[in-house]
């Protein structure tokens, strides 16, 4: 998928038909719409997302406010669109940091073996023995909430995931002859890990990256739902659900339902993309 987009950008029109075929697949289609909203969301939003209108609180969906307004009079459509950018960028940065460190450590563990491997795996077991949300809560209790610490939490949660999978998929390379040859030729461990180990796990890293982005969005929404993470006036799907949760019993369903749908659709699209990537990989390798 990504390869095809790049080749079209490079004016390789032979792949245009393939591109159209890709677009027929629902997750890819939905994902591209999501991507469009993430990039251009603030431009599409009809109102300022943090400008309250006290005269117009909890208004039902109408032509003026497609998704209605919430208890402060914020326009929910605008907030959902702005929140897309915040959620996706937090998830992306967190996963990139965590995944980068995790892959590097995983590849080093596979290369060095012995005591490095042992201690890194014990670290993985300790971190993974906590439920993710509980771990993030403990972290926030220690260093405080806010979006920067949210990114940190997501990074730390992702490190063991990548470490374990990349390590186990690269383990066979430890005894590979080309690694011995590279060492004999005088390359040091760091260069071997970067240039010989990591490229061999490209497929796994990419699939894992897509999956963990979806997971990270869930974590961010979950943490914001319980009032940690992104500070309240800023739009965020999880905290929007929380803000509207008290009114559902009164029949005011729109402040919670729309951000909830946004989470469901984006996680579905990302997971579907990952599945698509996986089947493509299997097909191309057969």
């Amino acid at each position: 998928m990504i390869k095809i987009i790049i080749s079209i950008l490079l004016k390789n029109h032979k792949n245009l038909q393939k591109m159209i075929n890709q677009l027929r697949r629902p997750p890819v289609f939905v994902f591209l719409i999501m991507l469009f909203i993430v990039v251009f969301g603030p431009l599409l939003a009809p109102y300022d997302p943090i400008e309250p209108k006290p005269m117009n609180t909890l208004a039902a969906p109408s032509w003026d406010h497609w998704f209605g307004t919430d208890n402060y009079g914020f326009d929910i459509l605008s907030r959902v669109l702005y929140a897309a950018q915040i959620d996706f960028s937090l998830a992306l940065v967190g996963v990139l940091i965590g995944g980068g460190i995790g892959s590097l450590l995983g590849a080093s563990a596979a290369y060095r073996g012995g005591i490095t491997d042992f201690f890194l795996l014990r670290f993985v077991e300790v971190v993974q023995s906590f439920p993710v949300l509980l771990f993030a809560l403990a972290l926030f209790a220690a260093i405080g909430g806010g979006s920067r610490n949210m990114v940190l939490a997501i990074a730390i949660v992702n490190i063991p995931l990548y470490l374990r999978i990349i390590r186990s998929s690269l383990l066979p390379l430890r005894t590979a002859e080309f690694v011995d040859a590279a060492r004999c030729a005088g390359l040091n461990g760091f260069i071997i890990v970067i240039k010989h180990f990591i490229p061999n796990a490209k497929g796994q890293i990419f699939s894992l990256f897509v999956l963990s982005c979806a997971y990270a969005i869930q974590i961010i929404a979950g943490l914001s739902f319980i009032g940690l993470g992104v500070e309240p006036p800023h739009p965020e799907w999880g905290s929007m659900i929380n803000a509207g949760a008290g009114y559902i019993m009164l029949g005011v369903w729109w402040p919670s339902i729309f951000p909830g749908l946004a989470i469901v659709i984006s996680v579905y699209a990302i997971n579907g993309l990952s599945r698509q990537q996986m089947t493509d990989q299997i097909r191309s390798s057969v």
């Binding site: 002859e177 080309f178 040859a181 590279a182 060492r183 240039k195 490229p199």
Partner: protein, 261 residues
């Protein structure tokens, strides 16, 4: 004058947890002079490859040198620190492996693999290293080095891949080249081509060769001296024509009887 490489009574032990430990080398003595070609012959499992691995500290997991010393130009290298030893690998001693295709990284273009070794050992620029790699490929008899350098290992024949391996081993101009049965995987005609090229390059660099093989014909053809190994020891060592014409040790005699030269 000091010998290039001296190995004195080296013992190697490989420990394992649930089996008893193995002693592949039991006191090996070996000397390689400057601009000399030394062959090592012997049956499978007698420790030929283990000598090369001991010199470069590439012993398998659990293996270590228990006794003896290894000297390069009179300096002890078996006790040198790991950081210092990395400067020996590639720049002073390098190695060519048996299976040419699996000794190349499958996901890298071969030109990059050769130039990388020069780049990180000598700290040169990328362009400089790339040009050097192309020149070396041309010197190794590759017809279209610019095109070949952009290929991946699976797109090459065994003979071509072995030339790439030789280029990788020689790009930093080492003084000693270790070759672990470099021609076993090749057919007879390419075998001779590769050996000729190897010999030409070694004369150009004024480097020595330590050549492990069980192919007595090849050893007789290219080596000036030869050592015969049996059960972790070198049982006979001398000028190649003397050893082959009048073997003194009974094992060498039987080995020569078994081979058709």
């Amino acid at each position: 004058m000091k010998k290039l490489l001296e190995i004195n009574r080296v013992h190697v032990e490989i420990k394992s947890i649930n089996k008893r430990s193995v002693h592949p080398l039991k006191g090996v003595d070996l000397q390689v002079g400057h601009e000399e070609t030394v062959g090592l012959v012997g049956e499978s499992g007698c420790g030929k490859s283990m000598i090369l691995r001991t010199i470069l500290r590439m012993l398998p997991h659990g293996g270590y040198q228990t006794k003896g010393k290894i000297l390069l130009n009179g300096d002890r290298i078996d006790k040198a620190g790991d950081k210092y030893f990395e400067t020996i690998r590639g720049r002073k001693i390098s190695m060519v492996f048996q299976d040419p295709v699996s000794a190349l990284s499958p996901l890298m273009r071969v030109g990059e693999q050769i130039s990388d070794i020069y780049r990180y050992n000598v700290h040169s620029t990328k362009v400089e290293a790339w040009d050097l790699a192309l020149n070396l490929l041309e010197a190794l008899g590759i017809v279209n080095p610019k095109k070949v350098a952009y290929r991946y290992p699976h797109q090459m024949s065994g003979g071509m891949a072995q030339r790439i391996n030789i280029a990788m081993a020689l790009v930093c101009e080492p003084q000693l080249l270790l070759a672990d049965e470099p021609t076993t995987g090749l057919d007879v005609t390419t075998q001779m081509q590769v050996l000729e090229l190897l010999r030409d390059q070694l004369t150009r660099l004024r480097a020595s060769l330590l050549f492990v093989s069980h192919d007595l014909r090849v050893v007789k053809k290219i080596c000036t001296k030869v050592g015969v190994m049996y059960e972790g020891k070198i049982v006979e060592f001398g000028k190649s024509n003397e050893v082959f014409s009048s073997p003194s040790h009974p094992y060498t005699q039987r080995l020569l009887e078994g081979a058709t030269l």
